[in-house]
Amino acid sequence: MKDAEAAVSTVGLTRDFGSFRAVDGVNLDIPRGAIFGFLGPNGSGKTTTIRMLCGLLRPSSGSGRVVGCDIAREGEAIRRRIGYMSQKFSLYDDLTVAENLTFYAGMYGLANAKRRERVDAMIALADLRGRERTLTGALAGGVRQRLALACAIVHEPEMIFLDEPTSGVDPAARRRFWETIADLADGGATIMASTHFMDEAEHCTSLGLMYAGKMLISGSPDALKRELTVAAGKIWQARVPDSIGFLDRIRAFVSGGILDAYIFGASVRVLACGARLPADVAGAAAWEEREPTLEDVFVHHVRSSAGMEGQRCDA
């Protein structure tokens, strides 16, 4: 049954460039209708993975299927059924709104009545009714971004790849964009968004964090935060007068148990092993427990995989 099949499934997906292993045995299982956030530093293998999923690059080993097609053999079919929108919107500034949409519809092979119907539907989706003849170059950032999304999905793709789609867009427009994405996901489309921004990651239903070619962790944003609390410890925050001096003192007098300590505006935050702060730290300030952010999760996992010191809790 095709509909029951995951939108993306890979087994041991690997890609070498010469002696460099860019992607190392990645297993993905993304159900249809998910909004999957793909996180990781630059050079961690995200782009290489996405190029393989789009059928643009052959895996060195391992296999995968995207929207029911084999990534090694059916790249052409995959590309007809996916949409792609990058932070650098590939819109033509000297074409009007309607012309851009019509151009993309034509590129995807939509013709005549179908093309008109889809262009019209996308003008409604991007809330650009009445502005069909506006030159694209004259649109504000948030509006351009909605048009870029409309162009990327004019052919009703089953899967949509987004690359930092709301970078630099104002918060109201950003929320609106993600509501549209949630509507598309509710309608059965699967979304894969690669991003550095934890603001964007919070809008995903599940996340995967890639580092040095490997998928370190995956799960929903809430689950990853809970997992940090269970596997590592809790986040504590306190307001102190000289935060840097304070952090230096904490680092000096604690033998262990603090995995991370950083300044947060007028406060300091620490990630401490287990359920309680070490006694000497606990006594040093008025601590309050805080929910971990996705940044806390990200930083902890990247640092521990990079083998940085002080990232383990010894029982």
Binding site: W178, H203, G245, Y262
Partner: protein
């Protein structure tokens, strides 16, 4: 230290800034927060002194009076502006000569800054071969080589992963502790939280200003957070009376009137009737909540 009064800037017919006023106190880590096109770069360039307002005033009082005041400012532009075909050490040596520093002081200051930024082991590496985060740290080192009182940075956290971004902020806080006032622009709310004070700029105007806590405390509504694994929760909340409903993955944030004391139990009941298992709690508004409301209502502060 910096005083901005009713600053306007027009590029031809385009209004980049439409009457902006605020002060930056010495010792702050001051955030200029806003989306692309809000006027952040224009404002920063005025503070640095390379651009004049069309009307109004922008004064950065550094180094007393006199013509050398610009030398007391460091500026890190949005785009990497160092020499990619020079090494880290060569770039710093070049900047030290531009600043007219003597060789011995330049060498000790460079070493100190490379230590601060964690770049010491990479001194001979070409700037063009550094990662985004390392380039950003090198640009900061070059900008503060001459010990300015004020460091202005245009979106240092953009395009940088969270680990590098945290390193960059740690460098900024250390410079700040050493007496450098920091003005930093960002489009990201999580970076805005890291500032001691900030203005939120939108379409060339200031929509909010204050400390992150002050700004969040000013939010007039309540936020109820619904956490669930049930995908259709968002739709089922469409008929719950509220000011807005936004989804973040499977989490939904429902904004209700601040005076509506029993909204929380009513929301729990609404979900129970719909057969949706969910955790519901009241949460503190984030800067993003405040800015979304401010941007939508289009209201200005001073």
């Amino acid at each position: 230290m910096i005083s901005v009064r009713d600053a306007h800037k027009f590029y031809g017919n385009v209004r980049a800034l439409g009457g902006v006023s605020f002060d930056v106190e010495r010792g702050s880590v001051f955030g200029v927060v806003g989306p692309d096109g809000a006027g952040k770069t224009t404002l920063l360039r005025m503070i640095v002194g390379v651009l004049s307002p069309s009307s109004g005033t922008v004064d950065a009082r550094v180094g007393g009076d006199g013509s050398d005041s610009k030398r007391r400012i460091g500026y890190v532009a949005g785009r990497f502006s160092l020499y990619e075909d020079l090494s880290i050490l060569e770039n710093l040596a070049l900047f030290s000569r531009l600043y007219g520093m003597d060789a011995a002081r330049a060498a000790s200051r460079s070493r100190e800054l490379l230590e601060l930024t964690g770049l010491l082991p990479f001194g001979d590496r070409l700037a063009g071969r550094l990662s985004g985060g390392m380039k950003q740290k090198l640009a900061i080192a070059a900008a503060v080589l001459h010990e300015p009182e004020l460091l202005v940075l245009d979106e240092p956290g953009t395009g940088v992963d969270p680990v590098s971004r945290r390193d960059i902020w740690s460098v900024l806080y250390r410079l700040n502790r050493g007496g450098v006032t920091i003005v930093v622009s960002t489009p990201y709310m999580d970076e805005a939280e890291l500032c001691t004070r900030l203005v939120f700029l939108h379409k060339g105007r200031v929509l909010e200003s204050g400390t992150p806590d002050e700004i969040c405390d000013r939010f007039p509504h309540r936020i109820l957070r619904v956490r669930t694994d049930v995908p259709e929760t968002r739709r089922r909340l469409a008929d719950f009376p509220s000011l807005s409903v936004s989804s973040f993955g499977r989490t939904v944030r429902v904004v209700v009137d601040g005076a509506d004391a029993d909204a929380l139990p009513r929301l729990r009941e609404h979900l129970a009737r719909a057969g949706i298992a969910a955790d519901v709690d009241a949460v503190r508004p984030t800067l993003e909540d405040v800015f979304v409301l401010a941007a939508e209502s289009g209201r200005d502060v001073a």
